[in-house]
Symmetry: C2
Subunit: 534 residues, 2 copies
């Protein structure tokens, strides 16, 4: 069964404008926004022209990328090889390259002069075998929706795009196992599955653009993890091309397989640094026949936690999401996106979703839960939706916080895992710590997963503010044995903060594995692993 | 919170007798039963005495273990070191060692002359650092309940038992995350959690003996995988001691953590060949407040599959198990264990379990499902249980098939994953293929996971019968892109069959990882990886 998808531009048009047509971003504005979590600025913005010579960043300071490693420079012979190997699949036009050289937060940019768009695994293999032989660095790219600068080149790495690898390879209606190429857009897969009465086990705000291969490469979490678990459990097989072009076929479609080490796990969450994922098989749940969403207000975070515990007890197996945002987030939604608050003003808001197979049963459970939550004063106000449009409207309050933040100024973004009881303490601690120095300090995220998105905004890039936030935020997180990157990964921006969450012995072993699989270090260099390792 | 567990002997007493007290097993009988899937016999059975010299197997044929590798022999100085390091934790008495030298199927045996029983991770580290320096081979052992000879020594490897590492280290009531030492017995953990209104995400027939560290090291599947997914998703953290004694602390208690490569996945399912798991953190589901079990009969396997599809649709989120056994299994339960069939005779039986948070809702869903299954003639007879004792009695029909088989003669055991539509075709194909040569050819297993347990019995070990079964069973499985070991692992017995399920490139990479983590190969040698690799 072969089905071609066209990349959806929903997110691109709704949330971000293509960089090449972004008139608002002058070089001055640009340089003030680049490199949101460091203090490195890449210097002036200038038009790119094809040339085997590649710019280096003008200056490097703490937090910026390490020096360019001694990879080969792209030659005209290289280009001739790629044009022959990939007819119609090489992009060298600087305008076309621009959107792939810059991440969607517009916080980091590279200077690649070549993007390759293979359609088959064999082509990916040919590309990597050649690059390995020539010591040419490669930056794999899916939908370019990452938040840590992991999906764009840092210098002149060749961009290896999965955009044209968008075929569904098969779907088993009995087992619910989908097999597809890595470049399938998540939302397209969701639509494909919904027609067959199934859903993807993950859902993300960037679903309109992100590729499933990128989701797997970054071990994306998202909105359904509470119910369906992580990709480490739901991804059943991967096909991966290694740095030297060898194809590793672990594309099993079995729920159980204990024949040797589970190699695919190495590539899940390794951010393209160990291999390029070319195909994925994933276990998909049946589409729930009933979905309800309640949007509730709580006076304190303790009451919010009480509501969470109550939901786990009373909603049990039908609880599919428990998300939260604080009053500051609601303020940004009102101000910047004109989204009205559907309930009365509260310090905290939660979005509770149920998904089940029997509408009457689910509504009864939800009703009893809400009654108990109101009676016991855990919740002060709320609204419930069962119709699709209203469900989507309530979800957009949670999903569009990221977008609202982009309108609030320069944003310092943090994505941490903490023991669930402590997730909001970090927001409070940060507010106290920063005093009046920030414009906004807001918290939202996935309560059910203990995953806080902490965001700090200011009118413009502010090194003094950054110095006040970091390492405070990482030390605070490490003090709770939390993770400094719950679901966004480390990419370029956070690679050197790995030691806050992983001991040196573990990081050293990661380096050994990188060396084993990619001895020349050509795959997504400068990402994931810290500078002192390589 | 520290709670000590005493190892439960339920399984040991119910299913197997300790070898040292097993009067029925004369040397002649023993040698005829050893090595169930190969044709190697270890020669005569003789009492073991302490000596630095170790016996070699008398002869090796296809399928037997490879020659002993040139590890050091245990010296009196070594023994003195271990006695000093582990006061009271060294076992050299041959009678006490006996039960740990032999697997519970009594199909393979080693000749270790030393078992070490550490209580702490530091002690495990001291042991491995010493063994690494001295090139002494080590066989890690949990509850010794494995089915592929992975948990017992092959020659004179030192047995490193986790039996005294049985402490619960912590439990978070809000998140349901349990942290414990590797030697905790699964059933003890289940009892600990049930008192707190939670359950373990896995359940196995061997729960009374198996250790959670062994469960993780073998990526055990079992009876709850359909509902709660694999250990790759539910295990959140591991503490592992590497071959050279380094302690790798990946004992996170977070649902999400994307800081670098997920090293713990390397050790899940690697059968103790890459490191010794010393502690585990695992995400535990809430205890369902309502459990129902239906035991149903079907006329054909197609009807059984139709019943499965119907259950997924109508029971949805409360379906927690869908197991099957065939009429031949029921015959063995009747004959050898005197367990009566609770319904009328049918060619196929299924056990459907629901687990939910609302008894009335669940019963209504189950009732509607059963009505539809009967009306549409998918099911011909059935019985339902909600009381705990009756639920257990129905489950025992499924769980005790393994035990019944041990009374039916010499058993050739296979554990394969296949596309769910094809799982019973293999049983039928095997019956046709073997004609009258086997005593019984039976099939049972986890329909929901596409996991068939195929067992062939004969009055005694029968090399001609084995030659008829293998490689037929593996070739048939490989022809469906199935797995030759769904959940049992490869251990000693199946290591050379890995190529039926994994390509050479993947197996080669497994070998590279083994060399990286255990360059001297001291950890559980002769297991998991094929002989041609090392």
């Amino acid at each position: 069964m072969d089905v071609a998808f066209r990349t959806s531009l929903r997110l691109k048009t709704a949330v971000r404008s293509p960089v090449s047509s972004c008139r608002l971003w002058s070089p001055r504005v640009w340089s003030s926004r680049v490199w949101s979590t460091g203090v490195w600025s890449p210097g002036v913005w200038s038009p790119r022209v094809w040339s085997p010579r590649v710019r280096s960043p003008c200056r490097r300071l703490h937090g910026g990328p390490p020096p360019r490693r001694p990879f080969s420079r792209l030659s005209s012979e290289d280009l001739a090889f790629f044009r022959e190997t990939l007819p119609g699949g090489t992009v060298t036009d600087p305008d076309l390259l621009e959107a792939s050289n810059v991440d969607w937060l517009k916080s980091v940019r590279g200077h690649s002069e070549l993007m390759l768009r293979p359609q088959t695994t064999a082509q990916v293999s040919d590309i990597l075998r050649y690059c390995h032989g020539r010591s040419l660095a490669v930056s794999p790219q899916g939908g370019n929706t990452g938040l840590v600068g992991g999906g764009v080149p840092v210098y002149d790495e060749i961009i290896l795009s999965t955009a044209l690898m968008d075929q569904v390879l098969g779907f088993d209606q009995v087992s619910g196992i989908l097999t597809c190429q890595a470049g399938c857009v998540l939302e397209s897969l969701s639509r494909y599955l919904e027609d067959r009465d199934f859903i993807m086990p993950l859902d993300l705000g960037s679903k309109g653009s992100c590729h499933v291969g990128g989701n797997v490469a970054t071990n994306a979490g998202g909105l359904r993890l509470l119910r369906y678990g992580s990709l480490r459990g739901t991804v059943l097989g991967l096909e991966v091309v290694l740095a030297d072009g060898r194809v590793l076929d672990c594309l099993a479609t079995l729920r159980k397989d204990n024949t040797g080490y589970d190699l695919k796990q190495l590539f899940i969450g390794s951010e393209g640094t160990l291999g390029v994922i070319t195909a994925v098989s994933v276990l998909c749940p049946r589409k729930p026949s009933a979905v309800n969403v309640a949007f509730l207000g709580c006076e304190t975070f303790d009451q919010l936690l009480g509501t969470f515990r109550l939901s786990k007890r009373m909603l049990g197996e039908i609880l599919s999401a428990f998300e939260f945002l604080d009053a500051a987030c609601m303020g940004l939604l009102n101000t910047h996106l004109k989204l009205p608050n559907p309930i009365s003003d509260c310090p905290f808001y939660v979005l509770v979703e149920t998904s089940g197979s029997d509408a009457a049963h689910d509504e009864e459970k939800l009703h009893r839960f809400l009654e108990e939550a109101m009676t016991s004063s855990l919740v002060t106000d709320g609204t419930v939706a069962t119709e699709d449009a209203k469900v989507k409207a309530l979800w957009s309050l949670r999903e569009r916080v990221t977008e609202a933040l982009t309108h609030d100024g320069f944003t310092y973004k943090y994505d941490v895992s903490l023991p669930v009881e402590r997730i909001y303490q970090l927001v409070t601690a940060m507010r106290t710590h920063l005093g009046g120095r920030a414009r906004s300090v807001v918290g939202y995220g996935h309560v059910g997963d203990g995953n806080l998105h902490l965001n700090v905004t200011s009118p413009a890039r502010d090194p003094a503010l950054l110095a006040a936030i970091e390492p405070f935020v990482y030390e605070w997180t490490a003090g709770c044995r939390g993770s400094v990157s719950a679901e966004h990964g480390l990419g370029l921006k956070k690679r050197n903060f790995i030691y806050y969450s992983k001991p040196r012995a573990a990081v050293g072993l990661m380096g050994d594995i990188k060396t084993l699989l990619d001895p020349k270090g050509i795959l997504n260099p400068y990402k994931t692993l810290p500078d002192d390792l390589l």
